[in-house]
């Protein structure tokens, strides 16, 4: 096989696809590899760790059809380091030559037949507006657990809910829930799927505001028995779905709250960031003392010192102090849309809710930190 293309195109394809290539010691060497195929003038680059597969399609000047599997990180590093301009890639028996200008690299390749056979994407795609999806993911994925010891919590629940679709994630300390209007992306007969947050984090990079300039308006989405595929702008991301029952989150949501604090979002964020400067480990909480007209934020850090700040607020309820992990609280407040946020509390040990006072399509439940 042999093809030529612009360095930047190739860097982009290799970098995007290799994000799926596992970094933690793959079981087979070919999983450390990235599959590059050229057919006519179509270039396709695939990286996978079997859970997550990223396939990038692009244009190239095809000189000779064929396929090879190269070490992913090395290939990306080499191409990135080349001078701008045209890059020629030519695959041999068990090596690949990458050349540009006066540079020439010859790198050993992996046997193509060892690369896993990946399912062909399905064609029963639905289209989602990418801006809506991006917003929902931004609000929800942050609450998913990064802890592989609790596999189900590393997923984001996508479930049919009334007339719309609901996204839910929790790491057992906080829970984010977003309802999106519209019949939703789930195929008929499927009530819910559990999508690994890692895949959605990768998807976010491909969506508006995710770091790529040319943003697609639509995201293609299809769900199979075991996996789901998102298509954006020539990139197809396929992820294995998590198998199991997501915890019953509904019973966590209190039916009502006696205490309601309404506060300007930016002011609260700024104040939280300031007092958080004194937090030295993530066991130090921020205490919110809520009383009529104000909320006082206090951080007491044993070895360092203490800080406090008053923020104007409307408060209905009895005077109350609740402590939270400041980072978790900020995560929730930042995810709320609009200029104001509503913090609803029961008492110092029950789940609180952060949401917008106007809309209730997004809710962020947060467990307090108990201080004694």
């Amino acid at each position: 096989m042999k093809f030529r293309c612009e360095r930047d195109t190739l860097v982009d394809a290799l970098t995007t696809a290799s994000r799926a290539v596992t970094s933690r010691g793959a079981t087979t060497t070919s999983l450390n590899g990235i599959r590059v195929e050229v057919a006519g003038n179509r270039l396709s680059v695939v990286g996978t760790d079997l859970d997550l597969t990223v396939r990038v399609e692009g244009e190239a000047i095809g000189l000779d059809d064929g396929v090879l599997v190269a070490p992913a990180r090395l290939a990306a590093d080499i191409v990135r380091a080349l001078e701008p301009g045209a890059v020629t890639v030519e695959g041999g028996e068990d090596e690949v030559e990458i050349s540009a200008a006066r540079s020439r690299f010859v790198v050993r390749t992996y046997p193509v037949e060892d690369f896993p056979v990946l399912p062909e994407p399905r064609d029963d795609q639905v289209s989602l507006p990418s801006a809506v999806l991006a917003e929902a993911l931004r609000q929800v994925v942050r609450a998913a657990s990064g802890d592989d010891a609790r596999p189900l919590l590393t997923g984001v629940l996508v479930a049919a809910e009334g007339e719309g679709t609901r996204f839910v994630a929790t790491d057992s300390y906080r829970l984010a829930l977003r309802d999106v209007a519209g019949t939703g992306p789930l195929p008929a007969g499927t009530e819910q799927i559990l999508v690994p947050a890692r895949a959605l984090t990768e998807l976010q990079r491909l969506l508006p505001g995710g770091g790529k300039d040319d943003t697609a308006k639509e995201v293609g989405f299809s769900v199979g028995e075991l996996d789901a595929t998102f298509s954006v702008d020539g990139v197809r991301l396929t992820t294995r779905l998590l198998d199991g029952r997501f915890p019953d989150y509904r019973q966590l949501i209190p039916p009502g709250y006696p205490n309601q604090l309404r506060v300007a979002k930016e002011g609260l964020i700024d104040a939280l960031r300031r007092v958080r400067l004194l937090v030295r480990d993530n066991t130090t909480p921020v205490r919110l003392t809520m009383r009529s007209g104000t909320v006082e934020l206090t951080v007491v850090s044993q070895e360092v010192g203490h800080a406090s700040e008053d923020v104007d607020a409307q408060y209905e309820g009895e005077e109350l102090t609740v402590a939270f992990n400041p980072t978790y609280l900020l995560d929730g407040v930042e995810a709320v849309l609009g200029d104001e946020v509503l913090l609803e509390t029961l008492d110092a040990t029950k789940p609180a809710t952060v949401r917008s006072p106007e809309h209730d399509d997004y809710r962020y439940l947060l467990m307090p930190v108990r201080v004694s």
Binding site: R150, S172, Y173, L252, D281, Q302, V369, S372
Partner: protein, 472 residues
């Protein structure tokens, strides 16, 4: 006070080293062992010698030798399985004695310590006087012997305590001087005749290289230009050894630092291949870690499980919690999950549990949704088996709240403190032999010869203070 020569005052670094510590403790606790070749260590095929009496040393037996080799050299040797917790108790007494002389005590393991007595000279006298009274005090309080070296720095003090040791002979141990002081003017004449192996950082391979250029004694080493050493051994080690060869060692005595992690591990008599037999052992070790955290007033944020496979490949699996814990329940659950993620089919030879990222102080604790549904909450969740199968977390069966578990664990700790470790424990640890309890260092040096599958059945570890009979 009459002023002694400044040179004597300069010997303010003391190295205290107990003589055949573990073995001496065993002999002291069981006088019937006195005068016999006693070996403390694992008697099984994988065991090693942790310590042995001078009577055993006369047969050429040394610490870290394999037990098989030791038995070959002296078939009549009496093997005693180690009672690490007992040595730890005695060690604590030792350090208390040492701190009576100066607060600047740097413990090295259980049976050695460096002391900086500069601040004690005015009060207690010259270092040599302090060294002698220290040795007498250890004898009086612990009924054990130690050797003390006094010198200007750690290197010399340690070599001096070595020179103060008793010597094993075929006719029985010959007492050593007990205290050796290396005055500054005698340093080189003391140091240079010693073999290079006596220096820290000179192991077999370095020694072999040095022999290759004709260096056998420290004196030979001092005669080699530092540049040559650097070429031979690399810059860092070359410079380091060149310094040591001329008695140059600037490391200060540093008082005991705080523990960075608390852990237990255990080597099995035979490899274990299934989670059913490993799990109770893991629970026992997790509990022991939790107890020690509680005793120390600490909590751990990171839980690590260490696994050594039959082929000696060793892996660790760690998990960091959102909030540090000393909860036995949490430690068990996390360690259990970590172990469950490992394929134990190839056979497990060693298992360990440790807590690290330790914190004390503040008692704040991140609550979790698992705790929603405390009494008073209208909708305490009914857990279904499907969720329970997920294990820790959302699905874990949870009849009581985290807060009440903490009270339960505090109460259990109080019971154990009063009635002993075996008084109360997890039901899964009870077997025909009673309650299996993990003690620190139980099988440090390999399991006993007849040790069957560890678990409840091997809960024949003697109680505190009881002498262990020879089992070899």
């Amino acid at each position: 006070m009459t002023s002694a020569p400044a040179s004597v005052h300069a010997c303010s670094v003391l190295h205290v080293d107990m003589d055949a510590f573990f073995a001496a403790v065993e002999v002291r606790d069981d006088p019937s062992l006195a005068g016999k070749p006693v070996i403390v260590g694992g008697s099984g095929t994988r065991g090693v010698v942790a310590s042995c009496t001078y009577e055993a040393r006369a047969f050429g037996i040394r610490s870290a030798m394999s037990s098989v080799e030791a038995r070959r050299r002296c078939p009549e040797a009496l093997f005693v399985s180690g009672r690490y917790w007992r040595y730890a108790e005695v060690s604590a007494e030792l350090h208390e004695v040492l701190r009576g002389f100066t607060p600047v005590v740097e413990p090295i393991g259980l049976d050695e310590a460096f002391l900086d007595v500069r601040g004690a000279i005015r009060l207690l006298g010259e270092p040599v006087v302090i060294a002698r009274s220290l040795r007498a005090e250890v004898r009086r309080r612990l009924s054990l012997d130690c050797s003390v070296g006094a010198a200007r720095n750690k290197l010399l003090a340690k070599l001096a305590s070595e020179a103060a040791k008793p010597v094993a002979t075929a006719r029985g141990p010959r007492p050593g001087p007990g205290v050796v002081v290396v005055a500054p003017e005698d340093e080189l004449s003391f140091l240079h005749p010693l073999p290079v192996r006596a220096l820290w950082g000179v192991g077999p391979s370095t020694a072999a290289r040095l022999t290759g250029i004709g260096v056998v004694t420290v004196g030979d080493l001092a005669a080699v230009p530092p540049d040559t050493l650097c070429r031979l051994l690399g810059n860092a080690q070359g410079r380091h050894l060149a310094g040591l060869a001329v008695a140059d060692d600037a490391r200060p005595v540093v008082a005991e630092r705080e523990a960075k992690s608390i852990g237990h591990e255990e080597t099995f008599a035979r490899d274990l291949h299934d989670h059913e037999s490993l799990h109770p052992i893991l629970v026992r070790m997790a509990d022991a870690v939790g107890e020690r955290l509680r005793e120390a007033g600490l909590r751990a944020r990171t839980v690590t499980v260490k696994i050594r496979f039959a082929d000696r490949a060793t892996i660790t699996r760690s998990h960091s919690l959102a909030a540090p814990t000393a909860s036995l329940r949490v430690l068990r659950a996390v360690a259990g999950e970590l172990l469950a993620s490992v394929d134990v089919g190839p056979g497990i030879r060693l298992l360990g549990v440790a807590g690290s990222a330790l914190t004390g102080g503040s008692d704040s604790r991140q609550l979790t949704f698992d705790e929603v549904g405390e009494p008073g909450s209208p909708d305490a969740p009914a857990r279904d088996p499907g969720e329970a199968a997920e294990g820790r977390g959302q699905g874990a069966p949870r009849p009581a709240s985290e807060a009440s578990w903490q009270e339960v664990e505090a109460a259990l700790a109080a019971v154990r403190a009063r009635y002993g470790q075996s008084a109360v424990g997890a039901a899964s640890l009870v077997g025909p032999g009673g309650l299996a309890v993990k003690r620190r260092g139980d099988t440090q040096w390999g399991p006993s010869a007849e040790g069957v599958a560890p678990g409840p059945a091997d809960a024949r570890t003697p109680g505190r203070g009881e002498p262990t009979g020879p089992d070899g």
